[in-house]
């Protein structure tokens, strides 16, 4: 297991958002976490790279182990953790600088200097995010001049440029057209060979298309987790079956 989550509870002030969650996530697969609104999916994802620490008055209990090491250990360097566990958000968040600089940004700040090595890293990342062909002739153009779908792939490239181990994606395709969505799904399926990917898909169909494993959450509880086939064709829990067949949520 790449990631192991044990008895995870997440509280916002007094309100509990995630209840006693246990989940093992294998490497080099795509795990989709599905569930209706307010199931605690975002909270779960944000706890994996400790981005949730930014929320005031939040409290987490339990253990999250990545490669057997707890992310809350006192000797864990949070910025290093976030480099290893990259995250893509529901709204594309390119910085108001050029396309190239957006991708080169992280590597540069981490001390990667040589222009040659840098542009190699940038090209590789853009290729993996299936954006290279769109932008190779205008790397110096502002990132804001890209379409929404391209911006989102840029954000994926930006994460990839840091050579992470795990990639979290929180509804990365909401607000994108079907073609951009298909492109992102394509590149994710290729990326899983090298990364561990955890995605909150923007609907059940997307989970069906791209994932190897699926976890179903409801009101902060993990109801069921299994392979794609198990969850979609043969769910054990009635609520899972209701949800994936579209009877609620």
């Amino acid at each position: 297991m790449k990631i192991e989550i044990k008895d995870l509870n997440i509280f916002y002030q007094d309100k509990q958002a995630v209840f006693g969650l246990n989940l093992g996530i294998p490497a080099n697969q795509i795990l989709s976490v599905i569930g209706p609104a307010n199931s605690g999916i975002t909270s779960l994802l944000r706890s994996l790279n400790r981005l949730i620490d930014l929320t005031p008055d939040v409290r987490t209990e339990g253990r999250i182990l990545i490669d057997g090491k707890s992310v809350y250990d006192s000797d864990v360097n949070v910025t290093e953790l976030r480099r290893r566990v990259g995250m893509v958000f529901d709204v594309p968040t390119p910085l108001p600088i050029s396309i190239f600089d957006n991708v080169a940004y992280g590597p540069r700040l981490r001390g990667k200097k040589g222009a040659g090595a840098l542009s190699e890293t940038v090209e590789e990342a853009l290729r993996m995010a299936a954006l290279w062909d769109d932008v190779k002739n205008r790397l110096k153009a502002p990132a804001m001049s890209l379409s929404g779908g391209q911006q989102q792939r840029l954000c994926i490239a930006r994460v990839l440029a840091l050579k992470p181990e795990v990639i979290l994606l929180d509804r990365p395709c909401s607000g994108l057209d079907p073609i951009s969505t298909a492109k992102i799904e394509d590149s994710l399926t290729q990326l899983k060979e090298r990364f561990t990917i955890i995605i909150a898909p923007h609907n059940v169909q997307q989970a069906g298309r791209i994932s190897n494993r699926v976890a179903f959450m409801l009101m902060g509880r993990l109801i069921e987790e299994g392979t794609n086939t198990e969850i979609f064709s043969n769910p054990k829990d009635q609520r899972t079956s209701d949800y994936v067949t579209g009877r609620f949520g």
Partner: protein, 281 residues
């Protein structure tokens, strides 16, 4: 009946709005009518670049005052902007909510203190301090700059803070999720993204400093001469008007109005630059 009431209140509001706008317009026209003839008489270049201000001899050169205004304001910006910006960053990025709620009203309060109180305080503490520690008369550019730096803090802090807080949350989270430290995020994402708001804050602060009269009248020494050091006394455009308007008459009075026109133009230019910058993004 109801309809009549609505119509009437509409008219009343319109009349009030109109009267305040026309008061402004009247003042502007009045200043121009009073000031322009003397500029024409002395000559624009002689007026702006003339070194000698001696109304009794008919000499109206405001260059020393322009230098006075510029140096004092620049000094205020150099002292006040970094402090204000740091405060804004602290408040928006580091301060816990409780502290922020304590700080904000305190800063607003700073804006509410009458400028004459600042001036008096400066005269009692800053001026003697400068005289004893750094030498010179104490009444100086430095004293004025310190007072003005404090006075522009509320403007600089509150506008920069608002523009930092107005950034989309994702900017910051996106950067932190890339593994940047908080400081790297502030330096390379937050400040550049909030740049236009911060620049506007600085310009508005500077506009406030240039227009300030009462506080600096008491600490600048008001000598009409081009200064050679920051410990020299100077006179600014505003203090020139403030000091002499009481007894001036004839062309002298007109020259003071003309000084007002110059100020007016400077401040208008600053404010429209600030507006342009904030709108542009």
């Amino acid at each position: 009946m109801k309809k009549f009431k609505e119509k009437l209140s509409g008219r009343v509001f319109f009349a009030l709005a109109l009267s305040s706008i026309s008061a402004l317009a009247l003042i502007t026209v009045f200043i121009i009518v009073q000031g322009v003839p003397i500029i024409a008489e002395v000559g624009f270049v002689n007026f702006i670049f003339g070194m000698s201000w001696a109304p009794s001899h008919g000499e109206y050169g405001i260059f020393p005052m322009i230098i006075g205004s510029v140096t004092v304001t620049l000094g205020a910006a150099i002292l006040g902007v970094p402090v204000g910006l740091c405060c804004a960053i602290f408040l928006s990025e580091f301060a816990p909510a409780r502290l922020r709620n304590l700080f904000r009203p305190a800063i607003q309060l700073l804006a509410g203190i009458p400028s004459v109180v600042y001036g008096f305080w400066g005269l009692l503490f800053i001026v003697p301090f400068i005289r004893n520690v750094l030498g010179g008369p104490g009444l100086s550019i430095l004293a004025g700059a310190v007072i003005l730096a404090i006075m522009i803090l509320p403007t600089v802090i509150s506008i920069s803070e608002v523009s930092i807080l107005a950034l989309p949350r994702q900017y910051k989270e996106g950067a932190l999720a890339l593994g940047l430290t908080h400081w790297q995020t502030i330096r390379s994402v937050i400040l550049p993204s909030a740049k236009s708001g911060i620049v506007a804050a600085v310009i508005l602060g500077v506009g406030r400093a240039i227009g300030e009269t009462m506080a600096v009248i008491m600490v600048l020494g008001n000598a009409v001469a081009v200064p050679t050091s920051i410990l020299d006394p100077v006179r600014t455009l505003t203090t020139n008007i403030g000091i002499e308007m009481g007894y001036a008459s004839g062309p002298h009075r007109q020259a003071l109005f003309a000084t007002g026109i110059v100020l007016f133009v400077i401040i208008m230019a600053l404010n429209s630059t600030a507006q342009y910058i904030t709108r542009k993004k």
